[in-house]
């Protein structure tokens, strides 16, 4: 078939494309669908369940059938609607959901088995035997059903996101949307006009009516020019507003580069979060079809779509077409196509008083009851006055009336309201607040009504924002109100499709009714109606009407159907907004990151932080070898580790001490200036939450630390306490985590190393600067620093803090200066081993299930003061808890200790009832020469020396462990104080 005359395509240029390997050509302005039609391709897909041959139904984003795999290789995108795929030179597409070729699909045998695939078949067929589900049913269903396939390669393109704010968001750029945008923009409001199409105009592009005395496209061009010149209006083409969210927030996807072969440095799509004070929904309407037997033959489509293809794209699906309608609008298609030289086989109008509005045969009171042509329509059966006849035609346009496209208006459970005159649902008034429907989306579908209602909706929105509207002069336009006759399906034998994408027929709805699945919600799930990717845009209302016929209730009594976001499919790539791979979430780098990298460190993610896990040396073949060396070097000489990631909070004010007294379960007010104290924070329910140190730098100035993982939540909690619980206290808080690089220096040579960097005048001797002392000082020739004598490893240890920019250089200095002292950098792995050896609780022990008593810190909870969690930590349930933190060591040193294993009395039956506790942390201790662990054991403090069993049923392990003190290293703490 050659192109018709006219159309909004650029015939001066040709674009080459392929479909299922065959090469075709089209023009700029074409969609893949229009270009395929122009090349006589009508068969475009296979249906979901029965694999029936299918062609186009629609011309827009509501298309249920023509889903293709677009592009190839890593850029392959399945389930793309051919009707919205903008043609570009080199486009390649493949049909999907078939085995074999599109015209001979092996899975079409499903169609012959259809009696088994009726409503509810998933529920009825695949229920038993249970074991068959995973191995047989699911793979078979996944293979046979389902739509396109994925490339299984990473998406090579970039995506991004953005945020827009406006007074008025206009959704849809047709007659109503343009009138709304013009009204608001002329009035000075900040306006966004978004349309999913690549060309503004909406339905105006598909019709031949004049606006005033000019063609609609001329009027659109004029408005577009004015809008483009206004700085307060932003036009967003190729942008689908897919969801309405709370308080005027709308989600939109802009297809920035989908119409190009490759994005060429631009993001392919952008996810916009639009915050709009008001919005006008001008999304138009979607035409209804009328089910009859075999109504899914390729070539049977919506009459309005047929008209759009002819007028906008200058193509017709066939040389000879027929129309089946229940209203005047169907006749327009006949008139427009006839004007383009297409032969009209007849207009079959269900209304007995219907008259031809042009020069074509009319079948008043007629119905189309069947169709032939498996791979392309050849004949239709027409019933009229009790007689039936077969009429030759290559395509049939169906017009069953129009459903307002109220998708977004129902996103906040705004239940659509039935309009008896229009025979359709219109948007409810209780939809998303601030969203005003206009034009065909509101049932005001004539061009004149759409223009008027668009302008009025904008004026109403502006008035609500206290802005004065400047009403534009609107052109004269057609004002025909099409009142369809109620005709929801043609009764008869054979399968009549209601939902094309999910293969739901009138018969399925009858079966659902018979099986008492009558409420709409049940109907949907039993038949899968409306549950495909198109959410039943062309199906739901028809299905409701069929159900209402069966129940004898009215349509609104039968129910309504609402929609959820997204309006059309949104890719996960764009929802990710470009945050992928190593940028999936921001990584925090320590001040010594670049230094550690230069030393060949292996890194580990600790929450958002990247930390050096260990520093392998040449010749070391296993991480354990490295970690053992780092541990031993620290315990023998001196180890150095970046501990910046611990949260640091600066606490100042006259009441700082009292404030901390209430936050920590132990006392902080009595801490002397220049000293540090370990602190344990509880949750208000008495469970241990976080620990750290408090250093008192001045009477009214503390610096507290939190664990790395809880830095954010602890800060939030501290602000809660300050603002909500004790607002009358004089306390100021601010995080200083990133400001200071903090480096731990631990081991018997720690002091000797630090002596070499502290500036003259600072006395670092054990007497002047004892265990748990802190000070502000200068190091390395005048650099301001803070020094804390605290230890996580159990060795003589310090932490030194300097402004973060100097962390790198300080680390280099310590390693270099301490060479003769055995200075060895160590990572988080060695840090972890040493803290287990010392019996220090960490995240595994502070896991939200342990009380201070269990941690052996029950007596730390002061009874002399009120603090968060203190009261509840003493409640009966927690006081009666007997499990205590203990050390665990295998009787046979060759045996492993596995964290997570459960503890049992030796020889006892192993069950929930006899469970004695669990192992929280485990690792190899080079100091002990065996694996060791920390765990919580019932009456653990009274069972030192006992041999118990650690059971790890996952691996079938049973290991005999001896209960020991949790302090494997230096139990009396002499090293710390040396």
């Amino acid at each position: 078939m050659t192109r018709l005359s006219g159309g909004l395509i650029d015939r001066s240029r040709s674009l080459s494309f392929t479909f299922d390997g065959r090469t075709f050509s089209g023009h700029p302005g074409d969609t893949l669908a229009s270009a395929l039609l122009a090349n006589n391709v009508r068969l475009m897909g296979r249906s979901f369940k029965y694999h029936r041959p299918r062609g186009l139904i629609a011309a827009g984003s509501e298309e249920p059938n023509a889903l293709v795999e677009l592009r190839s290789g890593a850029r392959l995108e399945p389930n793309t609607r051919a009707t919205v795929a903008e043609l570009y030179d080199g486009l390649s597409a493949r049909s999907q959901n078939r085995i074999g070729s599109l015209s001979f699909d092996l899975l079409a045998m499903n169609d012959l088995l259809s009696p088994f695939f009726a409503a509810g078949f998933y529920y009825k067929t695949f229920m038993w035997p249970r074991a068959f589900w995973e191995k047989l049913y699911e793979p078979a269903i996944r293979r046979a059903a389902g739509l396109g396939s994925l490339s299984m390669q990473a998406d090579p393109d970039a995506y991004d996101k953005g945020f827009l704010h406006c007074d008025l968001l206009v959704i849809g750029g047709g007659a109503a949307g343009l009138a709304a945008a013009l009204t608001a923009a002329r009035s000075g409001a900040q306006v966004i006009l978004a349309d999913e199409d690549f060309r503004l105009g909406g339905r105006l592009l598909a019709e031949t009516h004049l606006l005033g005395d000019e063609p609609a496209t001329e009027w659109v061009a004029g408005v577009e020019e004015e809008l483009a010149s206004l700085p307060n209006l932003r036009i967003m083409r190729r942008t689908t507003v897919f969801g309405a969210f709370d308080h005027g927030i709308y989600g939109a996807v802009e297809r920035v580069a989908d119409h190009l072969p490759e994005p060429g440095g631009k993001p392919r799509q952008t996810l916009w979060r639009i915050t709009a004070k008001r919005a006008v929904l001008a999304a138009g309407a979607i035409e209804r079809h009328i089910p009859f037997a075999n109504n899914d033959r390729p070539g049977i489509m919506l009459a309005g779509a047929m008209r759009a293809f002819a007028n906008r794209w200058a193509v017709s699906p066939a040389e000879r077409v027929a129309i089946f309608t229940n209203n005047d609008d169907g006749h327009r298609t006949a008139i427009d196509l006839a004007a383009k030289g297409i032969e009209i086989a007849g207009v079959i109008d269900s209304r007995t008083d219907a008259k031809a509005l042009g020069d074509y045969p009319i079948f008043a009171g007629g119905l189309v009851s069947n169709a032939k042509g498996r791979l392309g329509l050849t004949k239709i059966e027409v019933r009229q006055n009790g007689r039936s006849q077969w009429i030759d035609c290559g395509a049939l346009g169906i017009s069953g009336g129009w459903n307002p496209n109220l998708h977004l208006a129902s996103h906040h459970r705004g239940r659509p309201v039935w309009d008896e005159t229009l025979q359709s649902f219109v948007p409810a008034k209780d939809g998303p607040p601030g969203l005003i429907a206009a034009g065909a989306a509101n049932g005001q579908g004539s061009t004149a009504a759409a223009l008027r209602s668009g302008a009025e909706a904008a004026a109403q929105a502006l008035a609500e924002l206290d802005l004065k509207a400047m009403m534009p002069e609107l052109p004269q336009a057609e004002d025909a109100v099409s009142k369809p006759q109620a005709l929801w399906h043609v009764p008869g034998k054979g399968r009549a499709w209601v939902d094309f994408q999910n293969d739901v027929t009138v018969k399925d709805i009858k079966l659902a009714h018979q099986e008492n699945m009558r409420p709409v919600e049940h109907l949907k799930r039993w038949t899968t109606l409306g549950m495909a990717t198109d959410q039943g845009k062309t199906a739901n209302v028809t299905a409701l009407a069929v159900m209402s016929e069966l129940t004898g209730k009215s349509i609104p009594e039968t129910g309504t159907t609402i929609f959820r976001p997204p309006y059309t499919g949104v890719s996960l790539s764009v929802l990710g907004g470009g945050n992928t791979a190593e940028h999936f979430r921001p990584r925090r780098l320590t001040p010594t990151h670049h230094w550690a990298k230069s030393q060949g460190a292996v890194f580990v993610e600790v929450g958002p932080w990247m930390r050096a896990q260990y520093f392998p040396r040449p010749g070391e073949t296993h991480w354990r070898e490295t970690v053992d060396r780092e541990v031993l070097a620290t315990r023998k000489g001196v180890g150095i580790c970046d501990v910046t990631t611990l949260g640091k909070v600066d606490v100042q004010g006259a009441d700082a001490g009292e404030f901390l007294n209430r936050l920590y379960c132990n006392g902080m007010k009595t801490l002397k200036v220049g000293m540090v104290r370990y602190g344990l924070m509880l949750r208000e329910d008495g469970i241990a939450w976080d620990d750290g140190t408090c250093a008192r730098l001045a009477e009214d100035h503390y610096v507290v630390t939190t664990t790395t993982a809880q830095a954010g939540p602890v800060y939030r909690h501290m602000e809660f306490a300050r603002q909500c619980l004790w607002p009358d206290m004089d306390v100021q808080l601010i995080s200083t985590t990133d400001a200071w690089a903090q480096i731990a220096v631990a081991g018997p040579n720690a002091r000797r190393l630090l002596e070499r960097i502290v500036d003259e005048g600072f006395n670092i001797s054990n007497e002047a600067f004892p265990f748990m002392a802190c000070a502000s000082l200068t190091i390395c020739g005048g650099l301001r620093a803070r020094l804390f004598r605290i230890s996580f490893s159990g060795e003589l240890a310090y932490e030194v803090a300097v402004p973060a920019r100097f962390g790198h250089a300080l680390m280099q200095r310590l390693v270099k200066t301490g060479k003769d002292l055995g200075a060895t950098p160590y990572g988080t792995e060695a840090l972890g081993v040493m803290r287990i050896e010392k019996g220090h609780a960490a995240g595994n022990e502070l896991n939200g299930q342990t009380s201070p008593q269990m941690l052996g810190m029950g007596r730390m909870v002061s009874t002399k003061k009120d603090s968060i969690g203190a009261v509840m930590s003493r409640r009966e349930g927690l006081a009666a808890e007997t499990r205590r933190l203990v050390g665990l060591q295998p009787v046979d040193p060759a045996q492993p200790v596995v964290a997570g294993a459960h503890l049992f009395t030796e020889g006892a039956a192993q069950s929930m009832a006899t469970d004695q506790g669990w192992i929280s942390s485990a690792g190899y201790s080079p100091h002990i020469g065996a694996h060791i662990g920390l765990g919580f054991l019932a009456h653990g403090d009274e069972r030192i020396g006992e041999v118990i069993t650690a059971a790890n049923p996952l691996d079938g392990q049973q290991v005999a462990l001896r209960v020991v003190s949790a302090h494997f290293v230096d139990p009396d703490g002499g090293r710390l104080r040396d």
């Binding site: 969210f245 208000e684 909500c724 607002p727 009261v871």
Partner: protein, 96 residues
């Protein structure tokens, strides 16, 4: 959602962290008689209304203020917001 911050105007809820019932401001005195029963109520008992609810939101990606936001949990309509500190001071009979 948009939260009407009393100092900064409408801000997207993405900037905030939610805590829950604003009654958490009314923490019992841990040294008082019957503290354990009072804390059991405070920690575990919450009203869960379908309707108007006063709740705590933290402006984490903002000015670090805790707010008491009055929200209809059915419609998500927000009826007001004030600094939690002002609410707490009022509760203590002090000046805001």
């Amino acid at each position: 959602m948009l939260i009407p911050h009393p100092l900064l105007g409408l801000r997207d809820a993405q900037e905030f962290t939610y805590l829950g019932d604003a009654r958490l401001i009314e923490r019992p005195d841990g040294m008082a008689e019957g503290a354990e029963a009072a804390f059991a109520d405070y920690v575990y008992l919450r009203d869960n209304p379908a309707g108007v609810h006063r709740e705590l939101w933290f402006h984490e990606q903002g000015d670090r203020s805790w707010l008491v936001v009055t929200r209809d949990t059915v419609t998500h309509e927000i009826l007001g917001a004030e600094l939690a500190r002002d609410v707490a001071l009022r509760g203590k009979g002090g000046a805001a």
